[in-house]
Subunit: 449 residues, 2 copies
Amino acid sequence: MQTPKKIAIVGSGLVGTLLAIYLKKRGHQVDVFDRSADIRKINFSGRSINLVMSNRGWKTLEDIGLREEIEKIGIPVDKRAIHKQDGELIYQNYGKDGECIYSLSRGVLNKKMIDLAEQAGVNFKFEQKVWDVDLTTATISIGETERGEWTTEDYDLTFGSDGAFSRIRHRMQRQSMFNYSQEFLEIGYKELHIPANENGTHKLDKNSLHIWPRGKFMLMALANLDGSFTCTLFMPHDGENSFESLKTKEELVNFFGEYFPDTKDVIPDLVEDFFKNPTSYLVTMKCFPWTYSDKVALIGDACHAIVPFYGHGMNAGFEDITVLNQMIDKFGDDWANLLNEYENSRKPNADAIAELSRRNFMEMSSKTADEKFLLQKKIEKWFSDKHPEKWMPLYSRVTFSLQPYSEALAIGDRQNEIMEEILKIDKIQEKWNSEEIENLILEKLNAKY
Amino acid sequence: MQTPKKIAIVGSGLVGTLLAIYLKKRGHQVDVFDRSADIRKINFSGRSINLVMSNRGWKTLEDIGLREEIEKIGIPVDKRAIHKQDGELIYQNYGKDGECIYSLSRGVLNKKMIDLAEQAGVNFKFEQKVWDVDLTTATISIGETERGEWTTEDYDLTFGSDGAFSRIRHRMQRQSMFNYSQEFLEIGYKELHIPANENGTHKLDKNSLHIWPRGKFMLMALANLDGSFTCTLFMPHDGENSFESLKTKEELVNFFGEYFPDTKDVIPDLVEDFFKNPTSYLVTMKCFPWTYSDKVALIGDACHAIVPFYGHGMNAGFEDITVLNQMIDKFGDDWANLLNEYENSRKPNADAIAELSRRNFMEMSSKTADEKFLLQKKIEKWFSDKHPEKWMPLYSRVTFSLQPYSEALAIGDRQNEIMEEILKIDKIQEKWNSEEIENLILEKLNAKY
């Protein structure tokens, strides 16, 4: 048992709220601050790509007994549904039978988590803007505006779970020896909407992640519980086929007619949604260190914001909590070493999922429409079924295993080298599932591992 | 002739002051703000590695007619003096006969530049802290403290030449699509001092940059006009042979006795200086964009802070001014395109000198003590003398030419590949200046370029 502390958590998003439950169950007093109103009481516009929960996220919920509650609001997704431009639809399973990720609406999930945290005894302080933290005392400064009057509140320890534009990190960033980078993608995104059928059913298969891969841009859709889908259009901000290039209703309708013809019937409010909804930015943010002595620590997007193409932002944030919780088991009241081990063990894995996520835009937007890539996936699936102990595909390692991201990335790179050699073999299309190829892959695996 | 504008320059360092002179001579009203007092009126403690001016810096001064003035306060440095641990001293020329860099004291140079700017009609506003800028109007906010009362002043255009921790950039950084990174080295530095002899002469050869290369740490010294040398000790912050490891007078004296025995007589106040002077940090900072419309622009360290191991921080900042001045010639009153071209043409070169500077720590601290490296330098010098049109060594490209840094980096990498192949040749020590080797290098150059 740890000695009870007074802990502030800045940010009532998914990671902050779940962290609060963990710390409360450890016996601490936990106050969660958020600059916004309680999302349960407002019309939450939660502009967001839908979330997908995979094994890492589930583990963190399971360890604190919340998996069952949350599963009720998720929709299992076991495959990609790839919509080709000519209308062909290809399904591609994510893993083995029974393996799936879960589609969750950010708003629904966040409200549920806040309910659960309140039930656990966490205090929420909404509409309280935290602007600053004293790194040596964990005291936070709260006020209406950045330049206005502030009041302070004292804590023993303050966590910053305040997202990619974290104010807590902003303070740490002004220290010497604080490494930091923020890099925006040329690609932005915009939310669109596929409503439910009149009888409340889904217009597309709800157990698929739908992708319309078109090279430099793509559309995707994930199901909601109410029969609707949240759609996300990813495309460059500027240039040909960009947000900037779609200025009129006519340009937009022509563009969708050409590239996404099968969406005509399912996105009725395309024009209104497109011009009403904001175009959002995508950023990869890295920093180090994540903690200051035994007083201040960053978690989730506040210390490792990633692009959404692997669906791992929330999963990586939840896994931070799993690791932190393991460190609490190990170090007890020695918070300085506890936080130090947390950041050191977590940093390489945060870097790895950032890299995997960046790369996955190419996989989703281009490769899923590429014959060679589809063949590679087929070979990997076939070989992995025959030799599950020797080959787990990268996507499965990242999504259905708890192997550290950094290891998954390194092994995935090695596997990819092997597959590139295999795909160069003459007439591979005809003999991809032959004993010859099987033996060749085994040989290459033995040679290099 | 440009239409006269009211221009604010934030930061009265070397780049801000020289930029002010350029803009004043173009007919603009120029106010230079600095948070500090006028360094001409205070005991300027200018903790700093001495500066070296090389061809790029001289060009910028020459174009505005200031070279002669500044040469008077510089000391020509045409070689490295490498102090080996066993006492041996090796001299290594930087370039060809007559090619040299100039050692300048930052404080002396900056005072002189402010004098020259005032003579040109620039207004200086010292002890005025600029905290913020409105990107759409160029209006700046000034106040005593960050959280206190601010007043505003309107300008047509504001330049941020306020260094690695620029407040002007801080505002730009809060925009979407602003890429930013700051990365600290594990190596820090501390200033030490070699006083003049009683008769005012220098204790070491004043026309050499003195280095004591010791692998993971090094000492260097550059001459001042008054007979003294500014010494800089570079070493890791933590670990073995680090600032953190030298806690007592005894530890310090033993350390210097072991690694820098020949400094015993020339650094009389070692113990006092070491424990009195702060340990400083080294950071590489990159960002983009550097400008906002026709209203705000960054220049010098404010948009590309680099580590000091190539001696090019000031030179790169001055070259920014040269490029900006060329854009003024080209675009006249079209400030939006002018600033856009400035940032686009300058960014790859700023990235290249950042990379070159980072790499040069290894060259200075390790390689200058390495027989193989010294042989490589000898071969390059010999070949370059024979074929000056075919081979200019990387150091000369960077320091004695005006070739864009990015090209110098790319050609340098190619040259290094060739030299690595040459150094692998059996008995190269004996035949390094033979016709065989000359022909081989020629062949490799022809094959690859």
